[in-house]
Symmetry: D2
Subunit: 395 residues, 4 copies
């Protein structure tokens, strides 16, 4: 469905060619300062056309808060938000409409709903994500104010070009008999995750805060564009200052909800928490995160963080971080030999200019979904803590 | 929470040392033949102690159906099921209880609930998965009878030992300037996925149906055990004969629900659909799945299947397949220098014998969660189809 | 929360002085003809200012469909709808703002949210119901097209003035030793419920289709208005052509969902299904609905219908009907001696003109909520039927 | 479905002739003292066979906690509970099985599920309520410890025999022109609600704490039994010390959830909050609850309580009270001329002894459902309060 969350819940609507896209946010704590500009900042980061690396369409995407605030303060009631669509008319018919675009959602939407929307994939359009980003901006504001939570996503790879810290030496990869394989998550990488900021991320259009890598990524995207082709990549996201105790086993573990949230973003192919898939190659004795006493807080911390801040599905107070894979965009200018809806063979080539790589634009969407997951988990855990504290003889 | 699903919903209960573990299954279609033996087969596959590669504890795990069937037929009412715990007493106190086990859930459960269960991680115990497997067995039976759906999971890697088909040539991996990178999902691999059976999977204790690789995996696990250490791996699962149209955008896409389900299994670190993270390195022109007309069915199919049977979050009729990473078990015999709950330093070494690798045992759990996701998606889509068909003038 | 339903789900937003009020409808079957005029008809019936018996404010309330349809056909995606507020500015401050209005929601909203909205009761405003009515109109359209379901609500009493059929002879009421008490639901009343139409209901401004009673009701409302006072009443609603099998025991019985839906409408005090509270005074031998074979359909029907079309929480194919009590509006011109927020005593008298009786305007709201409940129940039951039918060996 | 609640959630299973009935309770606050005896007390009150006024079957109904507690303390994990069925075998076939019992659930269960359970109405059996009562006992214990909440239900009428306080003088009822009609909720009645205890309720087998009325009720029930007939009645429930702010508009208002909960209990026909249906006949000037400052607490209270402790769907700190109508039991010994499943006419008379009136036994069920509703509302509101309090600059 188009709803996400239990206590802090967002419901979205809208596709490419309708009047508006938007959302309703239920359960926002009352008494929080909130204006449209708090929401707009992430919508603007999401907007296409910000660089020559992404789709050149120029969209406006100004959010309008409909309800739930008064005099710039949240009332605790549902917050309606919308962004008008510039292009509200179904597009002109062309031969392309006879084809389900390969690896796009045209065919599956038709199979599921039995109705062929003029936009083809209906809600699979990237415009659907506006509602997520708007809702996420509210969650993020609360989390920052209440807990100092910081959420920063960045492009960690494009094609085979990856931030060096993030990859393992090839020698260790290649010999299956070599048990010395270490966690790909180095101390240096953990430090990097600990200090990276959105300002650093936004310094390059490719949104990779590792300058040398960013330049290579930009080249790779340019090469894809020049070839009328496309390329995928990965986004890594870190959430700092996460309180302990978030996540609801056994089904709604924090990483399970994060995986759900991230894999619901269009074009995603993989989700990895902490050391991820590579970490599964490491022996337990090298992978376990040993505890130490944090002298500042008096609480336990872990010396390493292969767990990605989550153990047993519950946050442990360390940074939560994860990596999401996005496939190469399906819409490409290269000619493709593929069948029409009617089963006849043909050749399809997308006209116009299309986004050769989505990962830079995906950054605020990933941050929004992360905020929605953490916010909902916080509100559920707050209920548990408060309810327990009310017991005069709690054990 | 401990509930999963919308129309076909399972709610589970139970930890290691309580009287029983079990579940309630709501929404099962009425009129289906169902006895305890239908459920037992997967519980038996899940049971530890089946080989010398997994934990040698001997558990019985006989399921008892409490309600919801009569004369071997489902009534449509909730199906209660339980499995008695053999070891119902909290264990004896030892110095180990002063330590939160590294990368285990002891610390986070205490932070979350404020109560220290004698089992440490409470519901993080593997016994929690019994309820999932029992419920999944019912879903699986329905799906097979109604649609011929076949769900087969297998161990695709242990440490760095992987089924060859599943990995990409290292040369293509290593040169970042080389754009010729192809999808790791070869035609041969797709054929393998198309025909693999549970019988073939169960031929080896390591549950890898690729014989040569299975032997190496077994060696790797033995090496871990002999070192009092542990090792992780991956499980790949294929779902065949999936009807088109499953998955509920925008948040409950089929892969999002699968990711949620899989990442809720203990010890999971990654989820990848179709070509997964490696596929994101492939150019769009090589990654797109071109359509063709299937002469047998008259419907469209795709020539390749990098999408993993899902496009725009909706099943397209091709095989759905995905891979899950499981970390090395956290409980190891090797000594670990780590803090006690009180912050003092110490050395912890697990006594007794522990499971050096969980992936062989995870097979029926992955299959169960896959069945639960598909079953719920089927029932929601059935409602849509039936509702639409009742409209006399449906467009 | 502000969401209602499982498969056919509405989420609403908006209060009195914000930009707009509206809703998102998820799960509408695709392929249904739907335009704004289908929705507007019930919004217009809901609009105040239609007669001198209700509040004289003139509202426009034109619905705008934002998404989910194309070329007048539903896509199966979420349908966003909104109605602009005419009066978007918080009102001027007055001494009245120092008082929580007695029996209004001012005090409880402040206690719950800790924020004092300028409108006082926030979402307790009647404008909140616009989203319900818009969503209900879509459900209603589907139900009519797919099943011929007809939903008709009417005013059955105002103060002590009631449609005669609906009340029991006083002699039978008054003697507690007299066991001959018969069901208040006479055969004549059942016939009346079977044929009443919305056109007949709308013939009088008081929306009571029993002409003689309607005149007396109008007098009673006028008397209340002239006294700067208010008066309550009841609305009865009948749903005809309901398929058998709707309702999800044990918690989501059809009457339980109807009760939930109706008691969520502002100002409601009571819900009664079938013979209702009075029916509980009747002996089982006189209250049971005996079965007969309906020669037309070949199915079983009941000779009487004290059950209100629901047995064991599941529809039996007879007309579903129920009665809802609405209290006298809390806002009255009569002076009231009551405390201010700060605890000081004072005298409050509402200025301007206020609605002396809400029941005529409540008609489309009741119909909408009825449609939402039945629609959701239909979609869940459709899933069950379809799922069962797919079993080749269903018992 | 068979689940109820959002944060404090119960899922139940079981019918008459299966192995056991039971439930899983999710979301119970951790650290609470809880043993089986805390739960048993209400199950014992629910048990039939406690007097000659209710069904003489002798059931044992000993609850067994399966999980979620250790050393008598809740862990915060799901609490599994079950009660074994004494009579686990489907009953012997008789001619009665050819009839759908009038006003029972036999026919509708068959229509809904397409399977004829040997018990006829499947989950419509009163045994289904065991899971509710067990779960409610836990909620009740928490509410009492944390807030001092007291929940007391009692039989307020049987047939036409009602507690005098609860009914209005007939003269005021009968003249429709007489506007002087006062609220049926007198100051004396409010005092009665304020002090009534379960001990007083249990003093008579009919569970009416008004002694003179109780005797008449017992006579009425005896008369029904002697006539092989049955009789209905009402249960009134008061919840004291309810914190302000409970209830989630606009759909999950406190009275809407209470109505849902109560109307899901078998055999219920009506729900009334506060002054109820009769209160709707009273003019606003007489019905509004005026505010005063409570000198003890410094908070506002209301001088009357026609609202039943709820305004705008949110608790205001006054006692919450409501009345539920239960119909005459459908199973009677009197001969009934009714159709068989096959449509043929016949005569049905129930054999054996049956419960002539269910209201005395319904008391703990009503209390349980009330506790479940309030508990869930408390946990949601606790989350809101805690979340708001964490904002450093909350407005």
């Amino acid at each position: 469905m188009s709803s996400f969350g239990t206590l802090f819940k967002v419901t979205t609507y809208g596709e490419s060619h309708c009047k508006s896209v938007g959302c309703i946010v239920e359960g926002c704590p009352p008494g929080m300062n909130l204006t449209e500009s708090d929401v707009q900042v992430q919508l603007t980061r999401r907007r296409p056309g910000q660089s020559n690396l992404t789709t050149p369409r120029n969209e406006k995407d100004k959010v309008q808060i409909q309800s739930g605030t008064e005099f710039g303060v949240t009332l605790g009631t549902p917050i309606g938000m919308l962004v008008l669509n510039q292009d509200q008319k179904p597009h002109d018919y062309s031969d392309m409409d006879n084809y389900p675009r390969p690896s796009h959602a045209d065919y599956t939407y038709l199979e599921k709903y039995g109705v062929k929307a003029s936009s083809g994939g209906g809600r699979s359009s990237a415009r659907e994500t506006i509602g997520r980003v708007a809702a996420g901006a509210i969650a993020e504001k609360y989390l920052l104010e209440a807990y100092g939570v910081e959420i920063v996503a960045f492009v960690s790879s494009v094609g085979k070009i990856a931030i060096p810290l993030h990859e393992t030496a090839s020698s260790a990869i290649l010999d299956p008999e070599d048990d010395t394989f270490e966690s790909p998550i180095t101390a240096e990488y953990l430090k990097f995750l600990n200090k990276i900021t959105r300002e650093e991320v936004d310094k390059t259009t490719v949104r990779c805060p590792h300058a040398a890598t960013a330049a290579k990524m930009a080249e790779r995207i340019t090469r894809a564009r020049d070839n009328h082709d496309s390329i995928g990549g990965t986004v890594t996201c870190v959430i700092r200052n996460v309180p302990t105790g978030l996540g609801e086993p056994c089904f709604d573990k924090l990483e399970a909800k994060l995986a759900h949230a991230m894999m619901s973003i269009p074009a995603t192919k993989s989700f990895e928490i902490g050391s991820g898939r590579e970490g599964c190659k490491v022996a337990g004795s090298k992978h376990n995160d040993l505890f130490y006493r944090n002298a500042d807080t008096g609480k336990l911390g872990t010396l390493t963080n292969n767990s990605g801040g989550v153990q047993g599905g519950i946050s442990n107070g360390e940074n939560v971080y994860f990596t999401i894979g996005f496939k190469s965009p399906a819409t490409i200018g290269v000619e493709q030999s593929t069948s029409r809806y009617d089963g006849s063979d043909g050749v399809l080539a997308a006209k116009g200019r299309h986004d050769p790589c989505v990962v830079p634009r995906a950054i605020p969407i990933v941050e929004a979904m992360a905020a929605l997951v953490v916010m909902d988990a916080v509100m559920i855990q707050q209920s548990r803590i408060a309810s327990r504290n009310l017991l005069p003889n709690a054990q």
